[in-house]
């Protein structure tokens, strides 16, 4: 009897101890990210991005003190959902931010709607997320937004035969669809569409198929953090010397992993919304501060998504003069415009999705390090998924 009661007591005190309190003059922002597991790199970048913004701009906005609480959902949606409910219910969080993968963002949508708390998606990229709640705003990007310009670039540069290789889940399917459809419509041929499993992907057999097809280029989407494994197989199969061009959305040459990918990545052309090599004073300051604060870690598009998410929250709080009413915050976020490290951005008032430039970049060596160097851009791209009336 004694031992059981003791065990219950230990559990109870551990539960009670983890409840937190917040006072009136503090605005609590709940950040939910996968900090452990296969998407841990997303969590690390996002957290660092958000903290850098607070560090640079001070932790007081419109007379309110900003408190950021970071929680690890391990990439499991039921945990994301519980953490969201607890952050709103116990910690009185007024805004939620983060959400590393599409199912994690979707899990919180009904809570955001019911509790009228803005949910800022600063990572996940499946197009339809923002339609699941009127309280969802996105500061990352959508896969159609990044994939469609690639199709246009291929057609313009006489790449006619392409094989696609994407990870088999929401964003991958989005990327495949929004690259192939405009590409085929413009006269291109997709010789093969390959989908690789999300978990424990072994790219070797898939790349062998690509190599046998001999297309002009292979279009690739893999989630942030998986690019290095892909690149290794790409080299091992000899595709880097086969004349098949590597193209894709910027996820595959993610800035976080690019320095460790080796020279095989040189020449890969990708379309994306952010590169650490983006040439602007805002970005130079951002990259320098970020590297200084994080032991030389290079920021990637996830870090920028979170940095801009915080920028948007600050903007909204200033507009509402510190009021944390959910509807007022969302209204203030709609149509917000600012200059991000990635370039000019705007929140589309109609869809609550981000409007931004998409850059065409090529991997090159700059000062001995690999970077995605931008050489062309398409300005103010809206999410084509929603523009198509979906």
């Amino acid at each position: 009897m004694l031992k059981t009661l003791l065990a219950v007591g230990v559990a109870a005190s551990a539960i009670a101890a983890s409840a937190a309190l917040a006072d009136d003059n503090t605005v609590t922002i709940g950040m939910i990210l996968p900090m452990t597991g296969p998407s841990a790199s997303t969590g690390k970048q996002e957290q660092a991005g958000a903290q850098l913004y607070i560090h640079e701009h001070g932790d007081t906005v419109a007379g309110k003190k900003i408190q950021l609480i970071v929680k690890d959902d391990t990439g499991a949606p039921d945990v994301t959902k519980r953490l969201a409910e607890e952050l709103i219910g116990n910690d009185k969080a007024k805004v939620l931010i983060g959400f590393g993968l599409t199912p994690l963002a979707l899990a919180v949508a009904p809570i955001a709607t019911e509790a009228k708390v803005p949910e800022i998606v600063s990572a996940a990229g499946t197009a339809m997320i923002t339609e699941k709640s009127p309280f969802i705003v996105r500061t990352s990007f959508t896969l159609p937004q990044a994939a469609e310009p690639m199709a246009r670039w291929c057609l313009k540069n006489n790449i006619r035969k392409v094989a696609t290789l994407v990870t088999d889940y929401g964003p991958g399917v989005d990327a495949e669809k929004w690259f192939s459809e405009p590409f085929v419509k413009g006269g291109g041929t997709v010789v093969e569409k390959i989908r690789v499993p999300l978990k424990n992907p072994d790219f070797a057999p898939f790349l062998q198929r690509v190599s046998d097809d001999k297309p002009d280029a292979v279009f690739v989407f893999v989630p942030s953090g998986f690019g290095a494994a892909f690149m290794k197989e790409f080299v091992d199969r000899g595709l880097d010397k086969s004349g098949i061009k590597l193209i894709g959305t910027g996820d595959v040459t993610d800035d976080d992993l690019l320095p460790s990918m080796g020279d095989a990545a040189i020449g890969a052309v990708t379309t994306h919304h952010y590169s650490a090599a983006h040439d602007s004073p805002e970005n130079k300051a951002f990259v320098a501060d970020f590297e200084k604060a994080n032991n030389g870690m290079r920021p990637n598009f996830m870090a920028v998504g979170a940095y801009d998410g915080m920028a948007l929250i600050y903007h909204a709080l200033e507009a509402t003069k510190g009021s944390t009413d959910g509807q007022a915050l969302i209204d203030a976020m709609k149509g917000a415009k600012w200059t991000s490290p990635r370039g000019p951005v705007e929140i589309d008032p109609a869809t609550r999705d981000i409007i931004q430039n998409i850059y065409v970049r090529k991997v090159e060596k700059v000062n001995g390090q690999l970077y995605n160097v931008e050489f062309d851009k398409i300005e103010a791209v809206k999410d084509p998924f929603k523009a198509a009336g979906n």
Binding site: M1, T4, L5, A11, A14, I15, P103, A107, P110
Partner: protein
Amino acid sequence: MSAIAAPDRVAAHLNRGGRWRPFEIAFWLAIVALIFALPSRALLINEILLAGLFALSLDLVLGYAGIVSLGQAAFFGTGAYAAGIIATLGVAEPLIGLVLASVIAGLLGLITAPLLLRGSDLTRLMVTLGVALLLGELANRNEWITGGADGLSLAAKPVLGLFPIDFTGQRNASLYSLAVLFALFVAARRLVQSPFGLSVRALKENPLRANALGVSAARRLIAIYGIAAAYAGASGALVAQTTGLVSLDVFDFHRSADVMLMLIIGGPGYLYGGLIGAAFFIALKDGVASATPEYWEFWIGLPLVVLVLVGRERIGGFIARWARRAALLAMRGAA
């Protein structure tokens, strides 16, 4: 002692295990008290209760029947998806969904159980793991019904049409889970003390001898595996109903591995083991992960390694012994 009295003595011995001891009553009352005392942590308590139910299922398989399984998530996930799909098909009452989901998971257990009859522990590990992987991929492929990687959202209606268990009724959700857990626990308690339960335990202790006594191994193992599968299915269904969503990770390896950890922490072959292990594991994880969201795995791993090295013993026994030693020292200090 005469030969006639022997069966009576055996019966008396067996019945003693069936009696409710005061600490058991205190244990369940304590949970009810916790739910009411800590309304803000209702969701965490709910998670603990459901993990406890899942651990109870593994305990029947591992602790009582001695089948080493690394794929209990197969039935957990089946229950979760079954409950989710039933709810989206328009069956509003969660209790009906719960029963159907656990029956479906139980049937799946009965179908896959014959795979476990041959081979050693290692084979069983592989087979159970394989079944969970297969089902996970099936759920991934059949997007039209499971929602694929985006998951499946369901709006669970109030239980019995009265008690909402969604965002507005967090306490109801944990009470609902507790009621189901308690009912299934009582059933499991009866089961392991029944002649059937005893013969399953005999099979675990000494299969050769049990066979020689005329205990048929195959049928018993299939039956207990099916029952445990239904338990896992019930826990999956409750997770789906109380969180309102199902996603592919219900079939994940980490689910099977975590539940085995919980059971080993709490002590297998002891019905309360899974519940205590679940409470310890999840409360510790939540506490540590709030303090250090980046490195909590280290601080979870450390006590686990210590626990296993110090003695492969139930956490309850460990704490009690430690408390006794502390009390002894205090007495000595006072003297």
